[in-house]
Subunit: 415 residues, 2 copies
């Protein structure tokens, strides 16, 4: 039996226990994990040093090495994040609907855990703790398949978590780490219908596309964001500049940052040169349509491919559009249905934009950077769903649950 | 451009219009469809005759020919079902959540259409009308791929529906029929990410498995039901017999009918022989465990494969179990997470069963045959989901929607 099958089978057995646990039992286990991540920081940091040394030998970039690195301060933050999950309401058991039928059947629809969740992700070892504890809080078992760059760190973190769980009501087998870092172990997870109830990919576009294209297990797609900000004719210049700059440069590397700025031609005539200067001062490279270049001679010409690209970098496409219809058409063609914004003083146009744009989150006069479980007040986030089924947009704990109908009768049969 | 791509592209364009329609506009279109299905019954029945004649030439069984057959009375029923959909509340626009953040952002979560729904189904032409009108009412466009046996009927029905829509605010292109009845057209739909938002298979196990195994478009899995009834020690005999018989024979061909009866050994000692006679009188073949055969000598020995089989027929597996744990273990191993029932007078044991069985619907003292959108009072049913994501159990109109976060600010940026 392969590692993937044996560990997933153990997780499935643990899931039947998880389904019966109280919120207190789960929270006590999470507190033990939070404590252990600080108490056992020495072996975790030692293991992390192995990953960092291997990374340096392999020529990994300083930026990536920094993302990989664990310090006592970072472990404290990770531990504190687990304590925040303890404070969140437990979605399991929530009554979503309740009704009685004319024949006397009493029907309740309640939240239940999904069962066993597979997470396929890349390097950052904080995801290991985050994903595991969110799954546990929502009553699920989890099978983690992290990237090889963090394998030593992940193994030690999981050893600490499973040891903490052994002193709790949560079975240690509810958390599994796949140590085989070959592509084959991912491929095996993707086809594990019957053992895994869902797979959630977290990482870059190629990781996510591999999961979406090859999984037969249901997937919650996360990630890709080619997000737009449309500055309408009536927008206030100061507000428009602040929102557009924030959407691009506050953290360019993430999925809810802006990749393309759409500017109404009358606004462009008055303000585009000034706005472009603000981006130049923020070290943003501009790629524009021909009209843009007429206003901003230092911009380069954007290609069709540019408009479809998630740069995650200090690069911005700019396109001058005729009106909101033109903006809507561009977004429908190039958007990834993640987060889209209009800046306007015209409420009727804003309402059209909010209604007609097909995206997880649509904004009027606020930065797309707010598409985030914490910013929405969910208290946690397992990812941002870019699909339309099950969950859309930032996913908190309820996104990690399913439902069950409980039907109580007194002998009813169907006529 | 293939038929599948050109028609799906047209559906996607229509979906952007559907998203803007009012409930009244959609209902007016549905009434025109209901009227037309009766007014245009002559060409529909003539087309259906072609399918029936081809079926007879191909040696199709009388039972299947009967399912395929349309009569004026059946068309009246199909038309009346469309009028019932008119009466149902429109889920689109429903406010699911609404909150204001400390920074003043106002966030609403509202239901929106899924977009373009692909339906892959088998012979019965009533599904063509049913699926199309449920998708329209929920604001979606639909691409239908029915079976070749009903192709002439489906073509004529869709021509009538599209003609009716041409006199309404709903674009005719919101309803598309794929006429290519080769396997290739299904395979093409399954990979049509970006044009189809979801695929719902309706039909037998092999159709559903082909979709689940090969689709990269998100799927809502429906269908397979290996459902159990567990008669506990304390069950009232009369109630137990009535529920078990109803679950098996009221309509054996459907997914919520019972395939395996689990009997507590103390109940078996008193009543199994009598219960078996009741099934024999209803022409049900019994396949039992060895203990069952000691009580019911005319039963044959059930194999492992039998316990895993959805017969959809007058055949029943019977297994004598020690207690509720034994029953739970059997269901966990052989159940398909569809509908499971316990008959007991012991509320504590009933509660354990309702809590611990992992299924879309769990019953205490009522027949599994109630797992149905109409019986649950949803007024309609696009299918019964046997997966855990998005929708589980009977799916009414809300299962055909997604959500969107609408965020309104006054210049908020992220710090």
């Amino acid at each position: 039996m392969s590692e993937v099958i044996s560990k997933s089978t153990a997780a499935q057995r643990a899931a039947t226990v998880m389904n019966r646990l109280t919120t207190s039992q789960k929270n006590e286990a999470l507190v033990l994990i939070a404590d252990a991540l600080v108490a056992e920081q020495a072996p975790i940091i030692a293991a992390n040093e192995e990953d960092l040394a291997r990374g340096r030998d392999n020529g990994t970039s300083p930026a990536l090495l920094d993302r990989l690195k664990l310090t006592p301060a970072r472990l404290k933050d990770i531990s504190d994040a687990v304590r925040q999950i303890v404070e969140l309401p437990d979605p399991v058991g929530d009554l979503l609907d309740s009704f009685e039928r004319p024949n006397g059947l009493r029907i309740e629809k309640r939240r239940v855990p999904l069962g066993v969740i597979g997470i396929v992700y890349e390097a950052r070892p904080n995801v290991t703790v985050d994903a595991a504890t969110l799954c546990l809080k929502s009553g699920n078992a989890v099978v983690l398949r992290g990237g090889s760059a963090a394998l030593s760190s992940n193994k030690q973190i999981i050893a600490v978590i499973r040891d903490a769980l052994s002193r709790s009501a949560v079975p240690s087998d509810a958390v599994q780490l796949i140590e085989d870092s070959s592509r084959a172990s991912v491929d095996e997870m993707l086809k594990l219908n019957g053992l895994l109830d869902v797979i959630i990919p977290r990482g870059g576009a190629s990781l996510i596309q591999n999961v979406v294209q090859n999984a037969t297990v249901p997937v919650i797609e996360t990630g890709a964001g080619v997000c737009h900000t449309f500055i309408d004719e009536s927008a206030d210049y100061g507000m428009a500049e602040a929102i557009a700059l924030n959407a691009k440069v506050q953290r360019p590397s993430v999925c809810n940052s802006m990749e393309t700025l759409l500017v109404h031609d009358r606004f462009a005539g008055r303000y585009l040169a000034e706005l472009a200067e603000a981006f130049r001062n923020a070290n943003v490279e501009l790629r524009g349509c021909e009209t843009t270049i007429a206003f901003v001679p230092w911009a380069t010409l954007a290609t069709e491919q540019d408009f479809a690209t998630e740069y995650n970098d200090y690069i911005l496409n700019v396109k001058v559009v005729k009106d909101v219809d033109d903006a809507l058409a561009h977004i429908a063609r190039f958007g990834t249905k993640h987060s889209e914004c209009i800046v306007t003083a015209n409420d009727a146009i804003a309402e059209r934009f909010l209604q007609e744009v097909d995206a997880a989150a649509v904004y009027h006069n606020a930065s797309t950077r707010f598409t985030d479980g914490f910013e929405f007040g969910f208290g946690a986030e397992i990812g941002i769903s870019t699909q339309k089924l099950h969950a859309r947009g930032p996913m908190g704990l309820p996104a990690l649950t399913s439902t069950k109908f409980k039907v109580v009768g007194n002998g009813q049969i169907r006529g």
